[in-house]
């Protein structure tokens, strides 16, 4: 299916809030590459940005990612080479989703996710151990 690219969407609200244009994205995908919670997401941070640019508002606002990404973790925005504030972007999207009556999608983040989210000490261990678990499985 061909996507018709337009400019009017929730991206305008996001860009006003972060005082930056999303077109600044370098499109390198470093954000998703280092993400420790990526198993929980349906969209990578980079896909959120690209979908916003494409004005795929429904896709973004109905995603799980915006409810999980950027709350107690700065992994992606810390490594962004152009300094896009991904935490803030997701915060604006959560607000926008709530305003539109979209239910938060908290359902079933895994225990691993909770462990990492609530304990900074385990976050570092988890990142290393995660891949070992996956390697053995």
């Amino acid at each position: 299916m061909r996507l018709r690219i337009v400019e009017d969407g929730v991206r305008t609200t996001v860009e006003q809030a972060i005082h930056k244009s999303l077109t600044a994205c370098l499109q390198c995908s470093k954000c998703g590459g280092g993400c420790a919670h990526t198993e929980e997401f349906d969209l990578t941070p980079r896909q959120v940005v690209e979908s916003l640019l494409d004005c795929q508002d429904d896709k973004v606002l109905n995603s799980r990612t915006i409810w999980l990404c950027g709350k107690n973790c700065t992994g992606c925005q810390a490594v962004c080479p152009v300094g896009l504030p991904l935490n803030e972007i997701n915060a604006v999207l959560r607000e926008e989703a709530l305003a539109r009556g979209i239910e938060p999608k908290y359902q079933q983040p895994s225990l691993v996710y909770h462990k990492f989210e609530h304990c900074a000490k385990h976050r570092g261990e988890g990142e290393a151990s995660e891949s070992i678990f996956r390697g053995e499985a």
Binding site: C28, K30, G34, E127, S131
Partner: protein
């Protein structure tokens, strides 16, 4: 009035400039702050896009400049001060044995570049793991036959310090795409069992034969190119885990590697701003020497009589440094007639 030209820097740009001036009957004082001529070129094992023996190539040029009539070479020597104007500069040169004063008509700045130490990139475990190395260290390993043996997996990481406003430089270092392909080819040639991966954002191969060279890495040497900037390198029990997103599918990926090579940015030479101050010429926002006009006056510094050559002006490959050295020589020659 003097007919001499002072060339600052004994890398390939400075060597070329000195040779060309001498060939046209001019006299040159070539100063180099290190012990040997050759600069960064001499630290390489191979050239691209043709895998030439870098050390042999540069040795030939060093021999030529050493035997050229009218070229005086001073190693361990730096510029202390510079007075005067085009056609009549008084410079003070400092070496271990003391300082000496010279009168020169023109000055060519060919101070080279420095490979950025990626210490800010803690996410890549540089400095923590001995198996995470810079591209320059990889060249050294290759020259000393210390590349991984057997079924080793080697990951090459583009844009470390380049195209990174947050931690490095905004500019593209221009040659990393090509030299990473060169490294992957060198690796495969040295160890046919090795499995080589390159993580890229865009592939910039802007030179004659460059695109074909990179394609050959993929087609003939089976190097896997994955589009996505590496986000993390984690060391775990002697192995490295490289994490990125394969952005063409949008899928997070990880590769277990034995060696990770970081293509660190080309940055201005150490002390470039201080040297610019001594000479009274301008630098750009990064500390590279600033030309008066980028397109038609690429070797003219902000001060008449002082010319620029090579990678002290912007990241560039050997061929471009040689061309710039030649042009700077020709500009200098106009002042010694």
């Amino acid at each position: 009035m003097s007919k001499k030209t002072l060339v600052i820097g004994g890398g390939i740009a400075g060597i070329t400039a000195a040779q060309k001036i001498a060939q046209n009957g001019g006299e040159v004082i070539l100063i180099e702050k290190e012990a040997e001529l050759g600069g960064n070129f001499a630290k390489l094992a191979f050239t691209f896009p043709v895998l030439g023996d870098a050390k042999a190539l540069v040795a030939k040029e060093i021999d030529a400049v050493k035997s050229a009539a009218g070229v005086e070479i001073l190693t361990y020597t730096t510029l202390q001060s510079c007075q005067g104007s085009a056609g009549d500069f008084t410079v003070e040169l400092k070496s271990a044995s003391g300082t000496r004063s010279e009168n020169v008509a023109a000055i060519i700045v060919a101070a080279g570049f420095h490979y950025m130490e990626p210490t800010a990139y803690t996410e890549y475990s540089y400095g923590r793991s001995k198996n995470v190395v810079t591209s320059l260290e990889f060249e050294k390993m290759a020259a000393e036959n210390r590349l991984p043996q057997g079924k080793a997996r080697v990951v090459f990481v583009h844009c470390v310090g380049s195209r990174d406003k947050a931690k490095g430089y905004r500019y593209c270092s221009k040659i990393c795409c090509s030299y990473s392909a060169k490294h992957a080819i060198m690796m495969k040639k040295a160890n046919p069992q090795s499995l080589n991966y390159v993580f890229y954002i865009d592939i910039r191969a802007l030179g004659k034969g460059y695109e074909e060279f990179i394609r050959s890495a993929m087609e003939e040497y089976n190097v896997r190119y994955i589009r996505g900037r590496v986000a993390k390198v984690i060391e775990n029990e002697g192995k490295l885990i490289v994490r990125a997103e394969d952005s063409l599918i949008g899928n997070p990926v990880e590769v277990e590697a034995d060696l990770v090579v970081l293509a660190s940015a080309m940055e201005p030479p150490e002390g470039s701003r201080e040297l610019a101050q001594v000479l009274g010429i301008a630098t750009d926002e990064y500390g590279f020497f600033q030309e008066t006009e980028a397109n038609v006056r690429p070797v003219n510094s902000s001060k008449p009589g002082i010319f620029l050559a090579g990678s002290c002006t912007q990241p560039m490959e050997i061929a471009a440094s040689v061309a710039m050295g030649g042009l700077a020589a020709s500009e200098a020659l106009t002042l010694i007639k």
